[in-house]
Amino acid sequence: MSRAPYWPINFMEETSMGNKPSRMAGLAAVVVLIVAACSPAASSAPTGAAASNPPASQGAGASAPPAALNLPTVPTGYTELDKALTKGADGKMPFAGTKVSIQTQWTGGEGEGFAAAIKDFAAATGITINVDSIGSSHETVLKTRIEGGSPPDMAALAQPTGVLAYAAEGKVVDVATFMDTAKLKAEFPSTIGLTTDGAHIWSIPTKADVKSMIWYPVKAFAAKGYTVPKTWDELVTLADKIVADGSHPFCVSAGGPGTATGWELTDWVEEVLLKTEDPQVTNDWVSHKVLFTDPKIKAAFDKVGSLLFKDKYVDGGGQAIVNADLKTVMDPMFNQDTAAPGCWMQKIPVWYGPDFFPDKRTNGGDSKYKIGDDGDIGIFPFPTISDQYKGAEGSADSFMVLNDRPEVRAFAEFLATPEGLEGWIKSVGVLSPNVKVPAEWYAGNYKLKVANAIATGATAIGFDASDLMPPAVGQGSFWTGISDWANSNGTNTDATLQAIDDSWPK
């Protein structure tokens, strides 16, 4: 999340999955998914097969237990990784006893997922991986450590803008200097997937999120005879019906937690833009070639405003959006165990889940609410608006290498392979940005399956635009402006857009 996570009051640690309000470009994820799912399985099939057949005898050496390991097969295509997984002439693993530190923002479920992903690598290579899960103050701690000259060996970041800022200061190791660039570009085909600058590759995406989805109470929909809307017009018709039935269609939060305010609303605008205009408009918007005051951007704002600020569409209107906290905003959907929802639809990325459901949030343990088309809470793709543009929005966390040592290279190379995320995908569940990840790894997980379908159905994947804008806008004036806009129920659109344009760094 691009949260401005640094604040102690920000309770994000509890809501593990919550720390990603502003994730970077989900392009990679999408592209990956698309490729994996639609392309003739030529490339993905072998990888998948390899993954399911543990490479125990080949690379991991005698110490490897016989169970299926989440490790790539040697040769992996990466020099240090091959070395790390192959027993040396002296009968020992060459990097055994070395240590690699990585600092991440992943706590809770994400922390568990990452631990599952790297467990087999650490066991097989003898490299000790020290994971610093800092949670909501991750970016602050990271900056202090990097500027202070004692960075962790590697670090994850939600925004490519942050990666580029450190790269400009010369603090980041260019992975193109030691990894096969052609292979990387083939596996992370989108330029957004890899954070690049010319020939330099500054970070590699680790986990991807799809944002173009709406969460809804399945049983209440069935009880009322509502059907899942496929187009914007159907969405409006459904919303009108819900209002006529005396309830409120949408729950939207732009009030945090903590200081990460506004991003859910900016996601709405970005989504509508990707579904009404050519994806190039989004790209030009990010680079300020298209201004906020551009009619196309204003049209997207107006379209969102016409829906969310319409009387009774959100209980309490724009002011409710500004004051609603992400942690609790969907609670009305669970009224009387979702039998009589106080709100019916929330647009929120794939990382959302039971951690936020009221029973688990307050009491811990497992949530009694099941996610699924036959469960309590379901997910449907964000409705299409135009026939021509059916883009989807996504984002990704990426990692950068800060210290150049052979064992650090080996670990970085491992994380870049499909197997680098396999343990996480198969335990907690997460989307990989690597196109070589076989689609069947996601098969058992409803959320990932839906996300996969959304990504494959999209004509283009746009990354979270606000995460690619200069942070002073993307996490600053855009958030401030959209709060103003919501507080006025969309009546001051022109002034808001002008103010954001004025704040763009010269």
Binding site: Y6, W7, I9, E139, T259, V322, P471, A472, G476, N487
Partner: protein, 388 residues
């Protein structure tokens, strides 16, 4: 005097044992510092101890980030305490032992410096050096070239708004805290259970700014009009038939809402100091004023207030400095996203979120310059009181 001290310490200073012991102490301290610098120092030391005791399994666990981590942290704490306290004792003993051996005249001149030197060095490293680099940094852009842009940008819209907010904070929150504190101190001076009453005003001071903000967020909580208002203020407000107001997020009502938290916290401090000052006004003076025919109001404004002026200035400047540096409350309410941003919060955001280190440095300098005159006023008032 000097001669006497020289005699007294003569045998001490020449003792070779002290030197040898100091040397051993320095070596031990050196090892201690080495352990403290190592990020896994505690684990490694405990692992070595386990190795010596033959517990190689426990040692292995510790070295791989498992095992008795709590014990390792405890050990590290003990080492830090030993090195910290012992190190300072060692430093002063060694230094004074060495200086005592010098000729008396030179020694008397050097000795005071020996004792302030550690403080001076620490201040230079941790205060003066960063302050200087901050000022220099405010004149550099991201590539390290000289620029005035960081300062020029402070004259643009959003920053003028921030500076305006700081001025409002300075005036309203400071005046509110001191004024209320003075009022309460004067009124409580006359009631029976004064101590008990003061406890209620003073207790909030024990709460951290962030904690207080969390409390007040519940007071200011807003719910859609269709829902029950669990926020105290809105529950009262709507019971009179009004529609609920988002006190903490609606500009401009959010400014006084945030300042009220500060006033709630700081009134107790002002009250305690001013109450003590009021009690210090001698009964004779008050009786004389009364004999001269002054009424209560005249006594308060024309006798008591001039007499406790020093305390008022001290309290005002102390609270003013706290207010100028206000960060926690604004950050915790909503991160300054609702036109309530202040210099300290923006400094943090520019630095850690926007990667504008130069502008963050300029804001830090602005804050420093703003606090400076208040501090000077404060020091002067202290000196005047000391002279009295």
């Amino acid at each position: 005097m000097a001669v006497k001290r020289a005699e007294g310490s003569g045998s001490y200073g020449t003792s070779p044992y002290v030197l040898v012991l100091s040397l051993i102490g320095l070596i031990i301290a050196g090892f201690g510092v080495k352990v403290l610098i190592d990020p896994h120092g505690g684990e490694n030391v405990l692992a070595s101890i386990y190795d010596l005791l033959g517990n190689s399994a426990g040692a292995g666990l510790l070295r791989n980030g498992g095992g008795d981590q709590f014990l390792a942290k405890l050990l590290l704490g003990a080492i830090a305490l030993l090195v910290g306290v012992g190190g300072i004792w060692l430093l002063f003993t060694t230094a004074s032992t060495l200086v005592e051996r010098l000729p008396p005249k030179m020694r008397d001149r050097i000795l005071p410096w020996v004792f302030i030197a550690p403080a001076l060095i620490l201040l230079s490293v941790y205060l003066v050096y960063p302050a200087v680099t901050t000022v220099i940094g405010s004149f550099h852009d991201k590539k390290g070239a000289f620029t005035l842009d960081n300062w020029a940008s402070l004259a643009t819209g959003p920053f003028l708004e921030i500076l305006r907010n700081n001025v409002i904070w300075l005036v309203v929150a400071t005046a509110g805290s001191v004024g209320l504190g003075l009022l309460v101190a004067a009124l409580f001076d006359r009631i029976k259970r004064e101590a008990l009453a003061k406890v209620f005003i003073f207790t909030p001071l024990a709460i951290s700014l962030v904690g207080a903000t969390v409390i007040w967020k519940f007071v200011y909580a807003w719910q859609p009009p269709s829902q029950p208002q669990f926020g105290l203020l809105n529950a009262i407000w709507t019971s009179f038939g009004n529609t609920p107001i988002a006190w903490a997020t609606t500009f401009p009502i959010n400014l006084p809402a945030e300042m009220l938290i500060m006033i709630w916290l700081q009134t107790g401090f002002a009250m305690v100091v001013l109450s003590a000052a009021i009690k210090g006004v001698s009964v004779e003076v008050l009786e004389a004023a009364r004999l001269d025919g002054a009424n209560d109001r005249q006594i308060f404004f024309k006798v008591i207030i001039p007499l406790i002026r020093g305390s008022i200035i001290t309290v005002t400047t102390t609270i003013a400095i706290t207010t100028l540096k206000i960060f926690d409350i604004v950050m915790s309410i909503s991160g300054g996203h609702n036109h309530d941003d202040v210099v300290a919060v923006r400094m943090f955001t520019e630095m850690f979120q926007f990667f504008n280190d130069g502008r963050a440095a300029a804001l830090a300098t602005v804050l420093f310059i703003a606090v400076l005159p208040v501090m000077i006023l404060n020091l002067r008032s202290f000196r005047r009181q000391a002279a009295m």
